[in-house]
């Protein structure tokens, strides 16, 4: 227990001393501000509650629970991976520390971080009551109990999921970030009625509304909207103790899930992960083929360019920097592209080729509405490495001491990202050439997405920010046709509004900001 406490404490201290922690707190403040200003509202048809302690508490905690379940996962995960990368994990593995204690330590640290966000929102709720409250009576129980009963179990479950994903094979990689998004989209959100306590609150509020003479039958809606048109009704809260019992189920589930994370956790033994990977059915099928292919290419590559093996450094082939800048840039772009593509599973290339072919052979409407969004989604993990890779693999000193780290290396990285888009979307591009009206959508996707990824990577220093933002963007825009976010114009509305042109116009700004970010990196040690 002592070890668990100190493990959680050390992990928590390490986190709160990072700049990213400030970003987490800022996110909490921003969320609270959005609720206070009325951007996020809770309404029942045309009705909203009188702004009293009960209503504000419920509104703030529901909004928080919704965001915690998604964003909370991404802001808490990464602590086990950090132990892997820093080597601290191997030191811990050589101690008597049990796997269960380790995962619970990390879980506790995750919970502590999320509870700080809960605390920030609780303070925001208090501020909202005192400043904007229509009934300013300070009923602390009604104001704060929703956080304890609704938000805390969600925080616990999210923290446990983050630990589980960190410990399980495959899930612990960047792929896990994408998997969680779809898990949240297709499982957590439909379960939200119960998990996020929508149903319990909905029942209580509907009963109160009907008791005041309204014949309202619909559910509650949490989202953005105008407040002026809504009619207020009085809701004084309900018996939280009656709801608390069912919420304990989620607390128990969170503890169980955190404990379960100890099962796949490999205790920082790299051999185990390798053995497990080797057992993969696909790898077993494809391993002999890959080995043969490598042998062939190696033989071709291994032929030394010179038959003269130098006996000393003096005998090395002299070399000077090339004087052909265009050729040099093209070579660097090719090298960056190879770096992006290297090390992917064979299945990744097969799916990419499948998408390319499908774009060539499918009806144009399918290409535009279904396949193109998939084309933009497929290289997400590759794009999210842009701008992050140098620091992540600690290659930055080697790169920044080479010529033109600002004006050659960074544009080459960007050009490689765009080339990747053109390469994967080549099938769609060929089809769109016959339908020029669709070309701006393609160009917008190919230019804007890598530019945004590069900028986000350089400014946030993590792949997760790019992955989550682009996933949400992709889901709302290209997939669900929200016109303002539909940069590739998968819908006629976005095309008619000229949305792609907007994104094409923004792209140079993003690239310019990425250049500024690189300049800042170059001067970071000053």
């Amino acid at each position: 227990m002592n070890a668990l406490f100190h493990l959680a404490l050390a992990d928590f201290r390490e986190r709160v001393r990072r700049f990213s922690f400030l970003a987490i707190v800022a996110l909490g403040v921003f969320l609270g501000y959005q609720v206070i200003t009325g951007f996020f509202q809770l309404r029942l048809g045309n009705y909203r509650g009188v702004l009293n302690a009960a209503w504000i508490g419920a509104l703030m905690s529901l909004t928080l629970s919704f965001f915690l379940s998604l964003i909370g996962f991404y802001i808490t995960r990464g602590n086990v991976q950090r132990d892997r990368e820093t080597g601290v994990g191997q030191i811990l593995a050589a101690t008597p520390l049990r796997k269960l204690a380790y995962v619970f330590g990390k879980f506790a640290s995750n919970v502590a971080v999320l509870l700080i966000v809960v605390g920030v929102l609780a303070l925001a709720a208090l501020a909202m009551l005192l400043v904007h409250g229509e009934d300013k009576m300070l009923d602390l129980a009604q104001l704060l109990l929703p956080f304890l009963v609704f938000s805390v179990p969600v925080a616990l479950l999210t923290a446990a999921l983050a630990v589980f994903f960190e410990c399980a094979p495959v899930l612990r990689t960047s792929t896990g970030n994408v998997i969680y998004f779809f898990l949240w989209l297709f499982i957590v959100t439909p379960l939200g009625g119960d998990l996020l306590a929508f149903e319990a609150i909905e029942q209580g509020m509907t009963v109160a509304l009907q008791a005041q003479g309204a014949a309202y039958q619909g559910g509650i809606v949490l989202g953005a909207g105008p407040s002026g048109e809504l009619q207020p009704f009085l809701w004084t809260g309900f018996d939280w103790a009656a709801v608390a019992g069912t919420r304990l189920v989620y607390v128990t589930a969170a503890l169980l899930l955190a404990g379960l994370a100890a099962l796949p956790f490999e205790r920082f033994a790299p051999e185990q992960s390798r053995v497990r990977a080797q057992r993969s059915i696909i790898k077993r099928w494809l391993a002999p083929l890959g080995a043969r292919l490598r042998a062939i290419t190696r033989r071709a590559d291994a032929t030394p360019a010179t038959p003269n093996i130098p006996r000393s450094a003096q005998a090395l082939t002299p070399v000077t920097a090339s004087g052909k800048p265009v050729r040099l840039f093209v070579t660097l772009v090719a090298a960056e592209l190879k770096l992006l593509l290297k090390g992917r599973a064979l299945l990744w290339y097969v799916a990419a080729a499948g998408l390319f072919l499908a774009c060539l052979l499918s009806p144009l409407e399918t290409v535009r509405g279904t396949l193109l969004p998939l084309v933009w989604l497929w290289p997400l993990l590759l794009w999210s490495e842009m701008g992050v890779r140098e620091a992540h693999y600690r290659v930055d000193q080697l790169l920044f001491s080479a010529p033109s780290p600002l004006w050659r290396q960074l544009p080459a990285t960007w050009a490689a990202g765009v080339s990747l888009a053109l390469l994967l979307g080549g099938g769609a591009l060929l089809r769109f050439l016959a339908e020029p009206a669709l070309l701006p959508g393609f160009v917008a996707g190919a230019l804007f997405i890598p530019s945004l990824a590069l900028l986000l990577g350089m400014t946030t220093g993590t792949e997760r920010s790019t992955q989550i933002l682009l996933l949400i963007w992709w889901y709302l825009g290209p997939l669900n046709g929200l016109a303002a976010l539909d940069l590739t114009a998968t819908t006629a509305a976005a095309l008619a509004q000229g949305i792609p042109w907007l994104y094409i116009a923004i792209t140079p700004l993003l690239v310019g900001l990425a250049l500024l970010a690189r300049q800042r990196q170059l001067h970071a040690g000053q």
């Binding site: 000077t320 660097l332 290297k342 080697l398 033109s404």
Partner: protein
Amino acid sequence: MELHIENVSKQYRKAVWGLRDFTLKLGPGVLGLLGPNGAGKSTLMRIIATITRPSSGTVCWNGADIATQPDALRRVLGYLPQDFGVYPNLSAVEFLTYLAAVKGLPQQRARQRIDELLHLVNLTEAAYRPIGGFSGGMRQRVGIAQALLNDPHLLIVDEPTVGLDPEERVRFRNLIADLAGERLVLLSTHIVSDVEATATSIALINHGQLLRHALPEELLHAVEGKVWGWLVSSDALTTLKTQHLIANTTRRADGVLARIVSDSTPDPAATPLPPTLEDAYLYFIANRQEAA
């Protein structure tokens, strides 16, 4: 070919200085930069490698200020940082090919040089294996190869022999000795024997300040008559350590032979010994600390 470091200071926080008023003028040859951990060696290396800018002072390469014209130096710079990483999915050949492109080298020539470099650092057999599976020493050798990719005029190597086995360490020393000539090599380390084998001049640094810049023989001359051998019993050794600067001890059947660095004879029974660079290093570092 000239590197002129003039009154360079680097202040990290209010009372934390990486370097203070550091001045040094260097021409072709191998400079061994010696100093204890935290002396400021890596700070100086990073400043010269254009990674960090000094808080004050200038560094000029062939007359060009590297703060305003960094590319003039970067084109002819080979840099092996103390702490660097690799792209684990790339093989040694792929990683070096990538860095050759970053350094702006023509592809074919670079490819030829990569093969030769991999042979020189004894990595030919592992050239096509992902670097992710390399040992620490093998990664270090990839680092050495990348530093030599562009036939550098200025080669900066920061703790280059960390993680190398004795055989590879000798190979590296020979490599550095070979490279000396019409180029400047800055070799930063706290392992005196590495410098002893290769350096044409030595700079001693501590607390961010240059203690002494001299030829190896000048340093040896400075501690002539200051190194003593004294045979004592094992029991007396602990007390001796608190009273004298002991460079090393050798256990013998009749006791322990202590090698003592001291201005005067520690005991009438002690006999003078010929000094080594390690003795000189210890003498100057200890004297500086006492003065501070």
